[in-house]
């Protein structure tokens, strides 16, 4: 019996309920991961630095993110008098909302099947499957830039302005590189839908039975694209070694220098939310999404966590690039490399 797909027109209540459950679960889980990503980062980096990380707030310091959040919530909120108040307030919102919106198109598991009223229904474990899924994410990434531009512009402080300009230039440069690097993936998958891309990665590697011990994940066909994507997205979400905009040692706190209380917390959360999104995209595009030995979403979460660990690990190890080197890397190395990768992929597909 092939399962029915829920639609709004035929089973409105069931559809709405399923949608709301998915939305709320995804949102809450993302929020939780965001909160505990900060904790995990402090713990892991702490251990790597031969110290302990938070231990005294709650058992093993587990309540630390909550204490931080609460404290920031009750802090005084400063809007500098010279600041452009509307843009100043809207900036953290503009950066957080797109970060959360990107999770909409990410598939975190295979279909969930259940029987209701005698009919077998299948609910895809994905909030919605757009057939332009990846473009949606890229569009949201594009919108995320505004948060930083506005924060820099509205604060009317030199550090913020410099940080804002720096990071805007950085984000757009690497958005381009990351955006171009995944074109090769679409050439292989022939779809922009995230779910379609995961489906394209099923089966043995390159369809060869002799390689059946390896899954057909795009990491094997597109290692260069993966490298470019990871580096590009690390730069786009301002993680070390590309954390120049908030480079403490240069620009105090960069674009969020003037931000206090909850608005600052939103910037903080956006950084980690972006990290989750990027990890999820990388897992989906290159590592077969939810495919793996365990039950769907567990595989997916494991892959996401592995990527996040990798980002944290990088942060503990590497120094920071300089601005001109960053631009050099983005424009003169990654952009041409992405184009070359497209050409190579094209030739390979034509010859195959």
């Amino acid at each position: 019996m092939t399962p029915e797909v829920l639609t709004l027109s035929e089973t409105p209540w069931l559809f709405t309920a399923a949608m709301l459950i998915k939305v709320i679960v995804a949102f809450v889980v993302t929020l939780l991961i965001v909160a505990y990503a900060t904790y995990a980062e402090r713990k892991i980096i702490g251990r790597m630095q031969t110290r302990l990380g938070p231990t005294m707030t709650g058992p093993m310091g587990l309540l630390q993110p909550i204490a931080d959040g609460l404290k920031l919530f009750f802090k005084e909120d400063i809007i500098p008098s010279q600041a452009h108040w509307f843009a100043f307030i809207i900036a953290p919102i503009m950066i957080l909302a797109p970060a959360f919106l990107s999770i909409v198109v990410i598939p975190f598991g295979a279909d969930f099947q259940f029987t209701y009223d005698g009919t077998l229904y299948a609910v895809p474990l994905q909030i919605t499957d757009l057939n332009i899924g990846v473009l949606f994410i890229l569009a949201m990434a594009g919108l995320g830039v505004y948060g930083i531009v506005l924060a820099g512009l509205a604060s009317n402080s030199k550090y913020s302005l410099l940080g804002g300009i720096r990071s805007t230039a950085q984000m757009i440069s690497y958005e381009l590189a990351a955006g171009l690097s995944i074109v090769a993936i679409f050439m292989l998958s022939e779809t922009l839908s995230m779910r379609g891309i995961v489906a394209a990665q099923q089966g043995p590697l390159w369809g060869l039975e002799s390689l059946s011990f390896l899954p057909n994940w795009f990491i094997f066909s597109q290692p260069l694209a993966f490298l470019l994507f990871i580096v590009g997205s690390m730069a786009e979400i301002n993680r070390t070694p590309f954390d120049l905009p908030e480079a403490e040692t240069e620009l105090v706190s960069g674009f969020c220098t003037e931000y206090s209380a909850m608005k600052y917390a939103l910037f903080f959360m956006a950084e980690y939310a972006n990290m989750i999104t990027v990890s999820a995209i990388a897992a989906t595009l290159f590592f077969g999404g939810w495919a793996g030995p365990f039950y769907g979403w567990i595989n997916f979460l494991l892959k996401v966590f592995a990527f996040m660990f990798f980002f944290i690990w990088i942060r503990a190890t590497f120094p920071r690039l300089r601005y001109d080197q960053l631009m050099f890397l983005g424009w003169k190395v990654m952009l041409p490399a992405a184009l070359v990768n497209i050409v190579i992929t094209g030739i390979a597909i034509l010859l195959w």
């Binding site: 402090r42 702490g46 630095q49 031969t50 110290r51 302990l52 990380g53 938070p54 231990t55 005294m56 707030t57 310091g61 309540l63 630390q64 909550i66 204490a67 931080d68 959040g69 609460l70 404290k71 009750f74 802090k75 005084e76 909120d77 400063i78 403490e248 105090v252 706190s253 969020c256 220098t257 003037e258 931000y259 206090s260 209380a261 600052y264």
Partner: protein
């Protein structure tokens, strides 16, 4: 702080629990400003380093005063530096706390000279003094815990947060 009882939210079970919650969050997440002046700054760094690890207490240094809760005056305060410290302190959001770390910051210490301020308390409301020249990292940690005690003993913090009355500081 002579605040009349009527200006608080009262001392019901819920308000005191809320106060406790607020105090707990403030005490568990004191972010000091990265602000080193002299010798004590090095001990402050050492306190943040692996052996003593301030991060255990949820303390991470913030570079911008907008995100800081505590300013640790670590070192000699000179007359040239006073306006800077005042400005930086002013620019921190409420509630904010001051720790005078070391003899120089607390009282001028050995530097009883023309250019040195004889204690930062001449122009900032110091919450905790830590003697020592410089204090051991444990001394600083003890001072920070004293400050936590002080924060925990505050009353009407929730009330003050929602605009009813002021915070009442108790003697810890």
């Amino acid at each position: 702080m002579g605040v009349e009882q009527s200006k608080t939210l009262g001392s019901g079970f819920i308000t005191t629990s809320l106060d406790k919650l607020v105090n707990w969050s403030r005490a568990s997440s004191m972010w000091p400003l990265t602000f080193g002046l002299a010798c004590c700054a090095i001990e402050m760094m050492a306190t943040g380093a692996a052996r003593f690890d301030l991060d255990r207490m949820g303390i991470i240094f913030r570079a911008s005063p907008r995100q800081a809760d505590v300013i640790i005056i670590a070192g000699t305060v000179t007359k040239k530096m006073v306006p800077v410290i005042k400005t930086v302190y002013e620019q921190m959001p409420e509630p904010k706390y001051v720790i005078a770390m070391g003899a120089c910051a607390s009282s001028g210490g050995i530097f009883d000279t023309y250019s040195t301020v004889q204690g930062v308390d001449e122009f900032l409301p110091v919450d905790v003094y830590i003697p020592g020249c410089p204090p051991r990292p444990e001394g600083l940690l003890y001072g920070l815990m004293k400050l936590q005690d002080k924060i925990r003993a505050e009353r009407n913090t929730f009330g003050a947060a929602i605009g009813v009355g002021d915070v009442i500081h108790n003697e810890a």
